[in-house]
């Protein structure tokens, strides 16, 4: 292993629950995730799969008193953040690990200028004077494609795409080693999505940042990710490099995601949505969490919980159907 393959983030057996009035929601169930320096890992899944909760736990921002990180380790640059004090956490947030939030319309404080909101992070982590931080913030705005003179303006004076650029500038303010992007383009117009995505890609390379890209858009994944984790009901069902997931799809759920995308070259193919909906997270099915919606499920799937197993050097899948002789997915046959 050379120094370029250094792991900047390791998540081991992470379990997060939300508890209220007797009901326990298992948002994240023992997931493992590794992030190598300068790589981008995609975290893919439907709404409610536990992607955002995973992201928030990486920053130690799971909201108490309802939210609890039950188990596991989150190791950032060699330190387990679950053992850190609040003070230590404050020092790494925004500095070593930063987050880009989903909805730019609500992620910015409406009564502070955008320049102030960026400068705040710089003042906190780089111990510089406010004027210097504000000047840096203005430069950053320029970097994300906004005229630096607009640093004194308020969020309501910007469009959605512009605001998302500001949110990105806040996250990048102190050049964090790890960037978590939580559906950064979901709330934007399609034309703006591509612009913002291109910019993020460029800045990520320039700043040598590692990234976790949370999305439900497989197009975004193909565009930007090196590795992909497919998440469902708080579990990772399939994990691999981009080619593994796209070309050597192994999990029935991943197949279902691909079948739900329209094919631009063939308008005769009918879309095949995945039957049913996400299970109730406070009452997850026994056995494989996906079995009620899985076209390949048999009796065994209802009782036996699949482990994430290596099927190649880079590719892992959690599906016991592969214990059956000769099993393969419909997609891999075509």
């Amino acid at each position: 292993m050379n120094s370029n393959d250094k792991k900047v983030l390791e998540v081991k057996n992470l379990t997060v629950t939300y508890e209220s009035e007797g009901s326990v929601v298992e948002a994240v169930n023992g997931i493992n995730l590794d992030l190598t320096a300068r790589k981008t890992v995609g975290l893919v899944g439907e709404t409610g799969a536990g992607k955002t909760t995973t992201a928030l736990s990486l920053l130690g921002l799971v909201q108490k008193p309802q939210g609890h990180v039950k188990n596991g380790k989150i190791i950032i640059n060699g330190k387990n953040i679950l053992e850190m004090t609040e003070k230590e956490l404050e020092n790494i947030r925004g500095k070593e690990i930063a987050m880009i939030f989903q909805d730019p319309m609500t992620a910015l404080n409406p009564v502070m200028t955008v320049g102030d909101q960026i400068a705040e992070s710089i003042v906190k982590h780089e111990k510089v004077k406010y004027e210097e931080a504000f000047a840096k913030a203005s430069e950053l705005l320029e970097t994300v494609g906004i005229d630096k003179a607009r640093a004194k303006e308020y969020p309501h004076q910007f469009s959605g795409g512009m605001r998302q650029r500001v949110v990105i500038a806040i996250a990048l303010a102190c050049r964090p080693g790890i960037l978590i992007a939580d559906e950064p383009t979901t709330a934007l117009d399609v034309t703006i999505q591509a612009q913002v995505l291109d910019m993020m890609k460029k800045l990520k390379d320039e700043y040598e940042t590692s990234m976790i890209m949370i999305t439900h858009d497989l197009g975004v994944v193909a565009e930007i990710c090196d590795e992909v984790a497919v998440m469902y009901a708080g579990h990772i069902l399939e994990y691999g490099v981009l080619e593994d997931i796209f070309n050597r799809t192994k999990h029935p759920y991943t197949e279902g995601l691909f079948n739900s995308i329209p094919d631009i070259n063939d308008d005769k193919i009918r879309l095949v949505p995945i039957d049913g909906g996400m299970p109730d997270p406070s009452n997850l099915p026994k056995g494989c969490v996906f079995h009620p919606r899985c076209p390949y499920a048999d009796e065994k799937c209802k009782t036996e919980k699949p482990e994430l197993k290596n099927i190649s050097e880079t590719h892992q899948v959690a599906c016991i159907a592969y214990d059956r002789p000769g099993f393969s997915l419909g997609r891999s046959n075509s």
Partner: protein, 311 residues
């Protein structure tokens, strides 16, 4: 912004005209004859008619009102019925005391309600939240005259620490300010709590935390400023109400403010003084409400932008 303020100032004029007309007519309709009040019961009809003519009471009400307005614009609100002092001077001599009491009560309210409301909001459903709720309910339920008398009994009669009436230095303001401030603290605590609860769930607080800011900065800088609009509203409307005179409290403590003066003039049937008190109060209220709107603009840039657009 300045154009907006000027435009709002101009709106004060019709407001005050309407208020003054209503008050003038209402005073005319109240039983009792000013001429009689001046002369007493022993006057002859001749004297009576002469006084009515001197006071202009024989003219139709519209003429009298018009004359009143023309004089009022020149700063002449007439004279008091008893002693023939200028109404304007009389009210203005009381105004500082009312402002003093108003500001003192608001200071009391802000000092207690801001920390209590913030804590109740960020620690929802804990003992401090319960404490704040209980205090708010009790504080709002207690009538001022009762609280005032209770405080006088405790601190003036039994302990002898503080004066019970009049103005004798700083000590005198303490009991009236607490009396008025308690109800204000109670309602303000609830407002602050509700505003904090609303703001604390917003995404931008999570953004602030993700930057590595401490909880204190997140609450006091990011959350509080966003919670200011409802807080300013409650402080402002209460301030306007208090400037109209905390009549009950001023009476209980014989506090020489506008409220006490209004009560006395109503009881004495001093129609010029009542009208003057209410008109000056109306002007003050309009100005305070304008001030609140201007403060909104400083608290929230989105509102300021509307002012500028809406020229």
């Amino acid at each position: 912004m300045i154009r907006y303020i000027i435009r709002r100032m101009l709106w004060v004029i019709p407001t005050v005209l309407v208020v003054s007309f209503l008050v003038y007519v209402a005073m005319d309709l109240t039983p009792g004859d000013p001429a009689n009040a001046v002369l007493g019961d022993v006057a002859t009809d001749e004297q009576y008619n002469q006084v009515r003519e001197e006071m202009g009471l024989n003219d139709p009400i519209v003429v009298r009102y018009f004359r009143y307005v023309v004089n009022a614009v020149q700063g002449d609100l007439g004279t008091t019925l008893y002693g023939k002092r200028s109404v304007w001077d009389e009210v203005m001599s009381r105004l500082p005391y009312t402002i003093y009491l108003t500001l003192a009560s608001i200071v009391v309210a802000v000092i207690f309600s801001l920390p209590l409301g913030i804590l109740a909001g960020i620690r929802q459903n804990t003992w401090i939240d319960t404490l704040a709720s209980v205090f708010s309910f009790v504080g709002m339920a207690i009538p001022n005259f009762w609280l005032g008398i209770l405080l006088i009994m405790a601190f003036s009669v039994h302990l002898g620490w503080l004066p019970s009436m009049g103005v004798h230095g700083f000590k005198s303001i303490i009991l009236p300010a607490i009396t008025v401030g308690t109800g204000l603290t109670a309602s303000l605590t609830r407002t602050v709590r509700a505003a904090m609860l609303d703001v604390i769930r917003q995404d931008y607080l999570r953004t602030a935390r993700a930057k590595g800011l401490s909880n204190r900065v997140v609450i006091l800088k990011h959350a509080l400023k966003n919670a200011m609009i409802p807080i300013v509203t409650i402080i402002g409307t209460n301030m306007a109400g208090l400037l109209a005179g905390a009549m009950v409290t001023e009476t209980v403590f014989s506090w020489p403010g506008i409220g006490y003066l209004t009560i006395k003039s109503v009881l004495g049937g001093d129609y010029n003084l009542v009208t003057g008190c209410i008109i000056i109060t109306a002007v003050l209220m309009s100005l305070i409400l304008l001030l609140i709107d201007v403060i909104y603009g400083f608290v929230d840039p989105r509102i300021k932008a509307q002012y500028v657009e809406g020229r």
